[in-house]
Symmetry: C2
């Protein structure tokens, strides 16, 4: 297959190969020698750190506090909530022993059979069980509520087919868990956190999302309602980017978390949980990037501006004299800058590398620029280059960064909106779904119809979107029965 200068397969040739190559070549992550577990490299982790810090601040504004709960969960905890165990107990890492010993010829270590645990421990696939087991001791009165906690941690779900960031056995995430005195308050919290996610993903990650509620089939195991944000990738597939669950009293009852209400009557606590993970990194990469490499929204780029002088030998001193102070001036404005005056790599190589890594703005200054008081500015999203006066370049850079944040969101949104279709005919649907896109279709509300669509087309109901008219739905496109919802259907990651 033809490759770009970036060395990447073109998206149009093989979108999947393009993604896999980009993640590795842009130094974001790589596979480890442990099946399904990834290594997040410094450049990728720097983006994740930005995501963490921004989201964490938003959580705290809503009164959430961070805490930390154990990595390991007793096997029996998983069985306490009937649906939860179906969803999570199956594919998980099981700790059965707590000691190794030298083998007989002392060439290695083996599991010590005498160190078998009485009850096996599971590496958390999610922490509702251990957290609600703890909440029982923290919640006694309505005065202890609401309880709003979150943890940033690693979790593990044994996946057979893995892809960096999108689906790995171990991943990093945050999981928020809240307990409330009333159903209304819990439902409101679940919706509030979905809005926090949507605002962050659209505002900072520049990824437009459809907000909605999952069908019963697609709900989190143990939830009464799962709210979701769904993003569209450039191949028209959906990527579920964050979910928030209204758990009702399921975990309150399973773990006997009762409180005395204002009338001194015992009640079970109402629950929510909500999470986003390193999967967001996959969404970020796939939404904006191009055949030259990564495109990052300036808000999340670890380095926002790279400055490259073009020089020979000792000429560099003249460039340093004007460009180092520029770096400082930009940094004073809160812009992160890399000044690359190294002479071990040629400019062409540097340019390709910075494009591959998605540095939003590139400033290049050659000898003629230096003499003329100009500088070349390139923006990564459009690849437009322009030679502009060096004087006042800080304002220009700031404006470009701001415009880029808006522009890449607008671009992604225009693409997404152009690929959302209303479709009432199943024949047409089956044909068109092959090319990707989101389809708004009348649905009779039954899991049977949902299963048939999945079987026929691999597409699933991503959500019942908020803000889409639910009037005059007509007939379900598959069963012909009266439709009760207009559902958003797509193939997905």
């Amino acid at each position: 297959m033809a490759k770009e200068i970036s060395g990447l397969t073109k998206r149009s040739e093989n979108y999947s190969a393009w993604y896999n190559e980009l993640v590795v070549k842009a130094d974001l992550a790589e596979a480890s020698d442990v099946r399904g577990c990834m290594i997040i490299k410094p450049y990728g982790y720097a983006i994740w750190e930005k995501i963490q810090h921004m989201l964490d601040a938003e959580f705290k504004k809503t009164g959430v506090q961070n805490a930390y709960f154990p990595l390991l969960i007793p096997k029996s905890f998983l069985s306490k909530e009937a649906e939860h165990v179906e969803g999570f107990a199956k594919e998980c890492a099981v700790v059965t022993h707590y000691r190794l010993k030298s083998n007989e010829d002392h060439t290695g270590v083996v599991v010590d059979p005498d160190a078998k645990l009485e009850e096996e421990l599971i590496i958390r696939p999610t922490s509702e069980t251990i957290i609600w087991n703890t909440f029982r001791n923290w919640i006694h009165s309505y005065r202890d509520l609401p309880l709003l906690v979150n943890q940033w941690c690693n979790v593990m779900r044994w996946e057979m087919r893995t892809r960096l960031f999108l689906r790995t056995s171990e991943f990093l995430w945050q999981e928020g868990h809240t307990a409330h005195a009333t159903r209304e308050e819990a439902e409101e919290r679940a919706k509030m956190m979905l809005k926090v996610y949507a605002d962050f993903v659209e505002g900072q990650m520049a990824i437009p999302v459809v907000q909605g509620v999952k069908s019963e089939t697609e709900r989190f195991a143990g939830a009464l309602d799962t709210y979701t944000i769904e993003a569209m990738m450039q191949d028209g597939k959906a990527l579920q980017s964050g979910t928030s669950h209204f758990l009702g009293q399921n975990f309150g009852k399973a773990f006997n978390v009762q409180f005395l209400d204002r009338d001194n009557k015992p009640q079970y606590a109402w629950a929510t949980s909500w999470g986003v993970s390193t999967r967001l990194m996959g969404a970020l990469i796939m939404t904006h990037s191009d055949d030259n490499g990564l495109v990052l929204p300036p808000a999340l780029a670890p380095v926002q501006v790279v400055i490259v002088p073009i020089f020979k030998g000792s000429e560099i001193e003249k460039f340093d004299k004007v460009l180092l102070p520029l770096k400082e001036r930009l940094e004073k404005r809160g812009i992160s800058v890399k000044y690359d005056n190294s002479d071990t790599k040629r400019p062409g190589f540097k340019f390709a590398d910075y494009e591959l890594r998605g540095m939003p703005v590139r400033l290049v200054m050659g000898g003629r620029d230096l003499a003329a008081g100009t500088v070349e500015i390139m923006r990564r999203d459009t690849l437009e280059k322009e030679t502009v006066p060096f004087e006042g370049i800080e304002d220009r850079v700031e404006a470009v960064l701001k415009d880029m944040q808006t522009n890449i969101f607008a671009k992604a949104k225009a693409f997404r909106d152009a690929h959302i279709y209303t479709c009432d005919d199943y024949g047409e649907f089956k044909e068109r779904i092959k090319d990707g896109g989101f389809f708004l279709c009348p649905w009779d509300g039954t899991p049977e119809t949902e299963a048939k669509i999945k079987e026929d087309t691999q597409a699933t109901i991503r959500c019942i979107p908020f803000g889409v008219s639910q009037d005059n739905l007509g007939a379900d496109m598959v069963s012909g029965k009266p439709a009760v919802k207009r559902a958003l259907i797509a193939r997905s990651y």
Copy 2:
């Protein structure tokens, strides 16, 4: 046993009970239902977050970048470095299966025998092995060096006797791992990171530390040198608070990490690793706190100032009018403030609770204060109360916070210095060590002597301290042979 108003056992009666009670009553952490694993509660986690953020910024100033490596390590990796496996492979959590299934009567789940891993996986007790296995692919030339990475994560070491923060099976920490082209550069980095730890622990945590190098016996498994900071708790015992290891080429050789040097010759990379953990929380609590509860250095207190009005019913409005703006003015200065105008708890209860939780400054305003334009200020370290003019209270608060940070360090240092003894006589040593303290003693440098001291007294060589005269040492106090070092010996946590 008599209890203080705090409900805590007195330190003088049972220091160990006092600590255990304080950790739980001050809402810092609690035991979980998973043996040896703790739950870090929101108030405790807020302190840990401050430690994280401050240390992380210091690491980054020295060029370190964060990354993330897998939780699970193939069993065989541990055997590759001969000493390392002795130190870490023994007591660890072993993952042997990757699936559960419903039991026969569908009442629970059991381990699926068909889902046995070919090679067992270990939950990381520390990550040298998996990281150096990765570094092999990242390091090819001297241009790739130094490589400076760190991760914030959870680790697990199966402990038989656990205590909250001090020794738990799972704990949170950071582990830095660096690779260098030369021995000198690696040694310098190991010492540099020890200094970063010492400056942080003394400056922000207000805990004085002795810096030094470990004896061979006490070294990290696989290190050529282990540098340490040792803090003295109020019972005179030592608490190892951070370590930095010069690992030589041991991991470079074990994982075949070679690079081409400037002369194009292959060389093995030189390594360091360094870490601090949630154990620091234990050091923080035990160094400063008193029989009334926690004492926190203002730099690490999640809430630095609590404001309590004393009022009846609707009087609160008058207090709100002057105290809410005060809160804002303090917050503008970067001071974190809690304004407690709740009427569900009596002032006496609030005072005891805030003392227990170690809020550094308490401002109390009653009706008379309101009329007279005064406010009562109390500082947690000395428990001194003073009524001062309300006008200009912000300056006063800022000054008290600053003074408190200095004062609690000075207090801890005075205590520590008064309990460091020079001792050349083993009979005297054996008698005095029972009361705690750090002993500087002449040592012949042999592990035999070290072992005898430990057997006789439970005390160990904490380190060979930097900056202690190593001249005219005389005879080893145990063996009578010529001493080669003056060692710092103490009982420890």
